[in-house]
């Protein structure tokens, strides 16, 4: 792994030497995120978001552990224990608002990180495994965030849990028993709340584990870069430290300013007022919506309105509800196949004129529309818009992308990263 010109870790004194011979952990860190990791010199700010996602996870774990010290997972006590944290625990309001908005910021940075990968073709050979692990992390994040939102046991917590676990009942035959088995009851109740709390505490550490694999897999081929051209010589790279630690430090400052601005001055902006009402299984909110980061998928779920049936017979093969559920999961699972759907050898969207058009004028608007429509009541205009956008979303990945990769004529690529940056051709190394 890594490049032959990578700096080598040299223990500076007797102690680090002693440690290095017995457990070379400092060496591992040095090679992973230190001066021993050569990185392309031309990364733009979109490459900050991987590190930021890691920071967001750490914020969530630290604030979450403190919250768990004061939280009480009971259908009678959960809501009030959160208010106890907000009112009586020292700086509890800060810990809780930071955790609540930290989830949103985690998704913001991860979405930008994913779109970076989509545009610059980071999922292509030899980086498929990094991408696959990334999709696994994304799925785990969604599960964790959903279960975390249930814990305060407000109205949206309860009814969100009711809707999401209801997906299982769409499965033919075994659906309803399976749902009851998973919930431990007929509806979300004490049993469900306890297991959600347990899993909500467990999954972040699973995510941390998969992130280690994600970074491990990254260090086999090394980081991609905006040109998509592979690293050819030492001139193309800089050591991660100090070059990218400094740049990531600056990016972290900007991220934290945005995070602090929302957490301290508009902490409930991204939440829903109904979750400040204690859960009441007998009173359904007028309009159940998930957190903003699930809205595109929620819109896809709701966009399927007709059964898949044999015409003129009335025989229904797949009900609309089941199809919505399949499509919703499918919209994420299809990302697993992306490296094999997009067969263009050119990685970066910069050099792919046709791909770029579909990306900016097709994929991005369709996801924006789905996010917006996901929050709207089921009026005709929103249903129509989300059906068009969802149809495009699936067509983009499953139909358009494979065809584009085949017919597109890419722009000429620079010969090397150094040439792209300096305008001068790479000096060939003389032996």
């Amino acid at each position: 792994m890594s490049f032959p010109w990578a700096n080598e870790y040299k223990p500076q004194n007797a102690v680090t030497k002693w440690v290095d011979e017995r457990l070379p952990l400092p060496r591992l860190v040095y090679n992973a995120v230190g001066a021993g990791y050569p990185v392309p010199r031309n990364l733009n700010y979109f490459w900050n978001f991987g590190v930021l996602a890691g920071v967001a996870l750490v914020i969530q774990i630290v604030t979450g552990i403190v919250l768990a010290m004061h939280y009480y997972a009971s259908v009678d006590g959960a809501f009030n224990s959160v208010e106890h944290i907000m009112r009586d625990v020292n700086a509890g309001w800060f810990i809780r608002y930071a955790h609540m908005n930290g989830a949103s910021f985690f998704f913001i940075v991860v979405y930008i990180h994913i779109f970076r990968g989509l545009f610059y073709g980071s999922y292509k050979a030899p980086r498929e495994m990094i991408w696959l692990l990334g999709v696994v992390i994304f799925l785990l994040m969604m599960a964790t965030a959903f279960m975390g939102y249930v814990l305060p046991w407000g109205q949206m917590s309860f009814w969100g849990a009711q809707v999401i676990t209801g997906f299982f009942s769409a499965i033919p035959l075994v659906g309803e028993p399976l749902r009851q088995l998973l919930l431990g009851g007929f509806a979300p109740d004490q049993a469900a709340l306890n297991r959600f709390f347990s899993l909500h505490y467990l999954l972040p550490f699973v995510i941390a584990g998969v992130i280690i694999l994600h970074i491990w897999a990254l260090h086999i081929p090394g980081s991609s870069n905006p040109t998509g051209v592979s690293v050819k010589s030492e001139q193309d790279t800089v050591p991660f430290h100090p070059y990218y630690t400094a740049k990531d430090g600056f990016g972290l400052g900007i991220f934290l300013i945005a995070f602090v601005a929302i957490t301290f001055f508009a902490p409930n902006l991204l939440g829903h007022p109904d979750n400040y009402i204690q859960a009441n299984p007998l009173s359904t909110p007028a309009h159940i919506v998930p957190e903003w980061y699930f809205l595109p998928f929620y819109a896809i779920l709701k966009a399927f309105t007709v059964n898949f049936a044999i015409p003129f017979t009335g025989i229904v093969l797949i009900e609309a509800k089941l199809m919505g559920v399949l499509a919703m999961f499918g919209s994420i699972l299809l990302l697993f196949f992306l490296p094999w759907l997009d067969t263009s050898p050119v990685r970066s969207g910069h050099y792919r004129p046709l791909f770029r058009k579909f990306f900016w004028y097709g994929l991005i608007p369709s996801i924006v529309v789905l996010t917006y429509c996901g929050a709207q009541p089921p009026y005709t205009q929103w249903v129509v818009l989300s059906q068009i956008a969802a149809a495009y979303y699936f067509a983009h990945f499953l139909i358009i992308l494979p065809i584009v990769s085949r017919i597109e004529r890419p722009l000429p690529l620079p010969n090397s990263i150094t040439e792209a940056v300096t305008g001068k051709p790479l000096q060939t190394a003389t032996a």
């Binding site: 430090g249 301290f264 059906q387 149809a391």
Partner: protein
């Protein structure tokens, strides 16, 4: 193979969505959505400004004290304030003795037991007590209120969109009769007996009768004229405080954090620039 299966799946999903699209449009043409009275006559909360608005906003303690008076003399007849303790009133500018006096003089006593017989009893409040509920339980609350349940008000301004303005608008938004236009257009949307027309309420008909009925219903200690609008505004401010008692700590900590981060970001930007100074990228 992957691409063939993907293509078929893509055609299936996108196709079903487009069939659904056609179905939605045909459905909308055949049976256009019927407008409802809620849809056309519901009003968004008035754009009312409060001293605690904005990143520099602070609570006006005089206003919170007036709001507490409105709550204790009007709202507390039906609405509980379960998450607030008497001791919390120190934040409104009352000293320890005043808090004790408020707790002791509260019109509902705190549920307790008789220390000798163990029979249920009540005792006067102390600062450590939560504000006692006006009703012992939900059944009693519904029985006294025509089967409607008066919600707890501790978090009401966070549990409604644009909460403080909503509470204010709702309290002054009662109309004696439904607009004639509404009844003309929606003859079935007549306010049922026992409910009250209020365009700021989601479905226009609220079980609560107008609580603020006349000016000077509450006598303010600080000489402020107790108009209906003034009382509504003061109690809305008070309920903002009950929902978010740590707001001032939050905002001042926020400015400190932003100041720190600004310096941090400038320093990291400078080190980024100097480290990369001789590296074209």
């Amino acid at each position: 193979m992957v691409r063939l299966i993907a293509f078929l799946v893509g055609v299936f999903f996108s196709g079903m969505l487009l069939i659904g699209l056609g179905d939605t449009i045909i459905g909308a043409i055949k049976e256009p959505a019927v407008p409802t009275a809620e849809h056309e006559f519901h009003k968004m909360p008035l754009a009312e400004k409060f001293p605690h608005d904005g990143p520099f906003g602070k609570y006006d303690k005089g206003q919170l004290q007036r709001g507490l008076k409105v709550y204790s003399e009007v709202c507390s007849a039906c609405h509980s304030l379960n998450l607030v303790s008497f001791r919390d009133f120190a934040a409104l500018g009352y000293n320890e003795d005043q808090v004790k006096a408020i707790a002791k003089g509260w019109k509902t006593e705190v549920p307790s037991i008789n220390p000798e017989t163990g029979e249920p009893a009540t005792r006067p409040g102390i600062p450590a007590d939560r504000i006692p509920s006006p009703f012992p339980n939900e059944v009693a609350a519904r029985a006294a209120n025509n089967n409607a349940l008066p919600p707890d008000l501790s978090l009401i301004t966070k549990a409604r969109a644009n909460g403080p303005a909503y509470v204010y608008s709702l309290l002054i938004g009662y109309e004696d009769a439904q607009p004639a236009e509404l009844l003309k257009k929606f003859p079935d949307a007549k306010t049922p007996d026992g409910l009250h027309y209020n365009p700021y309420f989601a479905n226009l008909n609220i079980a609560m009768a107008a609580p603020l009925t006349a000016d000077d219903q509450v006598t303010y200690d600080d000489g402020t004229k107790a108009t209906k609008a003034q009382m509504a505004k003061d109690v809305a401010a008070f309920l903002t405080w009950t929902a978010e008692p740590k707001m001032e700590n939050r905002k001042s900590a926020g400015w400190a954090a932003l100041g720190f981060l600004l310096i941090f970001t400038v320093l990291t930007w400078m080190s980024y620039k100097s480290i990369w100074a001789d590296k074209k990228h």
